[in-house]
């Protein structure tokens, strides 16, 4: 059964059409990597999937919800769809633990003590069990990003979206974040990752989608897509990415 179903969506910013008819579906437990040149519409597609951007045409169904821009329905959808951003976006006035507890307490109405246990569990999952009381500015970028992942996980989402989560990190910090994502994949989480880490995409993603100019240009099982790209555009893209 597909957890994500995207039908022919289009998205314009003013006169610039960024998504020009994208369709895809993602099965439960599947890990999908979105690759492509910057500006090809990967982030926009991801942001459409949890309603941060409004689509102009088409339809989205995700985690059992039809995309709707009614505030209450959108909130119901977002409870089941976690997203992690490139810039971490932790709340700087709250500790790591409080960052994670906020939504479970305020949205799911967990008691403080239940939420605390859940937050601790999620911090343990990303290997930061001992940083519950640290403020974001006391953590490294990689640690902040792992807290952001834990914060999303605490809502027990059905789907996780990752938007270039390692692009702002130094290479040595990238690994720890990728390891956390790989753990999630191993546990069967359904997820879509926009990434520039080609080797990671190949290793972790079941399927890879290559986007170009707002459409899906080529897609396939990661192994075959990376080993035998069919289109010349993907070939030259991979050459440039993996080349140096």
């Amino acid at each position: 059964m597909s957890v994500i179903q995207v039908e022919n969506i289009r998205k314009r910013f003013g006169s610039l059409e960024v998504l020009k008819g994208v369709s895809m579906s993602v099965e439960a437990g599947e890990v999908v990597a979105l690759i492509g040149r910057s500006g090809s519409g990967k982030s926009t597609l991801l942001r459409c999937l949890n309603g941060l951007e409004m689509i102009d045409e088409g339809a989205i169904a995700i985690a059992g919800h039809r995309m709707s821009y009614n505030a209450a329905e959108l909130r119901a959808l977002r409870r089941d769809v976690g997203i992690v951003f490139q810039g971490y976006n932790l709340f700087p006035h709250l500790t790591a633990g409080e960052n994670i507890m906020l939504a479970p307490v305020q949205v799911k109405r967990l008691s403080k003590s239940e939420a605390r246990i859940e937050a601790q569990r999620c911090l343990d999952l990303v290997g930061l069990g001992d940083r519950f009381d640290s403020y974001p500015d006391m953590l490294s970028g990689g640690q902040q990003q792992r807290v952001a992942i834990a914060r999303s996980l605490a809502m027990q989402p059905v789907v996780m979206l990752f938007d270039e989560v390692t692009s702002a990190l130094d290479p040595e910090l990238t690994e720890e974040v990728l390891a956390a994502i790989e753990d999630l994949a191993a546990q069967g989480m359904t997820m879509i990752l926009v990434t520039h880490e080609m080797r990671f995409a190949r290793r972790v993603a079941d399927r890879t989608i290559y986007m170009r100019d707002g459409i899906i240009h080529e897609q396939g099982p990661s192994d075959s897509l990376f080993a035998e790209p069919q289109t010349s555009e993907l070939r030259s893209f991979l050459k440039a990415e993996l080349g140096q």
Binding site: R78, I83, G87, L102, V107, S152
Partner: protein, 221 residues
């Protein structure tokens, strides 16, 4: 004619309670209205934003003295007799709401859009995003200028003297008229303002130096 003595000094000092009352009225009244102004200024509706911006422009563009007269005399057109405390309180509240509203609006706008987005992506409703994520950060940013503006309010209460309300400036005037010692009377008044305002200013400066959102280095653009 009376001598300028302890009784006169005490008369001025006692009027301090009214200066402080007016300050409190303006700060709390203006604070509550200012929160509404700031929130409406970041509303999604363009018409609401424009209407509130119009309110700010009108209030900020009217001398407080004139506002004071209007609040004092306008109700009498409708046969209502407002006492001077009430009229001055309203004028100061209107004035403070526009200035505090503008300070707080810019603090709210200083919070990156990504903070709104990541909170909304966690399924928090707008009101809770504001309350738990945006407002606490905005308060830290706005605190120094808010305390700084409190100093302005203290001094602005002196304008209530014009409609006959006896706060310290008016008390000083009365003492000066009775004793023909304007220098002594007004030095006494000035000293009292200084005693209230100086610590507040220093507090505001101290808040500024420890403020988290302080811009480092020269600003561009």
């Amino acid at each position: 004619m009376r001598e300028f003595g302890n009784a006169e000094v005490l008369f001025i000092v006692f009027a301090l309670q009214w200066t402080l009352t007016l300050t409190a009225l303006a700060f709390f009244g203006g604070g509550i209205a200012g929160i509404a102004v700031a929130l409406l200024r970041i509303s999604r509706s363009r018409y609401i934003r424009l209407a509130v911006s119009g309110y700010i422009q009108v209030v900020q563009g009217t001398p407080l003295l004139v506002l004071m007269f209007l609040c004092y005399y306008a109700p009498s057109l409708f046969g209502i007799e407002l006492n001077a405390l009430f009229a001055a309180g309203i004028a100061l509240t209107l004035n403070a709401s526009a200035f505090l509203g503008a300070i707080w609006e810019s603090a709210l706008r200083a919070i990156p859009k990504a903070q709104w987005e990541s909170a909304e992506a966690l399924a928090l409703p707008q009101s809770k995003v504001l309350r738990f994520v945006i407002a606490p950060q905005a308060v830290r940013i706005a605190l120094p200028s808010t305390v700084g503006y409190l100093v302005q309010i203290v001094k602005e209460t002196s304008l209530a003297s014009i409609i006959g309300f006896v706060e310290i400036t008016r008390a000083g005037q009365l003492v000066s008229n009775a004793t023909f010692e304007p220098m002594k009377a007004y030095v006494c008044v000035a000293l009292l303002y200084f005693l209230i305002c100086f610590p507040l200013s220093r507090f505001s400066q101290w808040l500024e130096t420890r403020s988290p959102g302080r811009t480092k280095g020269p600003s561009r653009g």
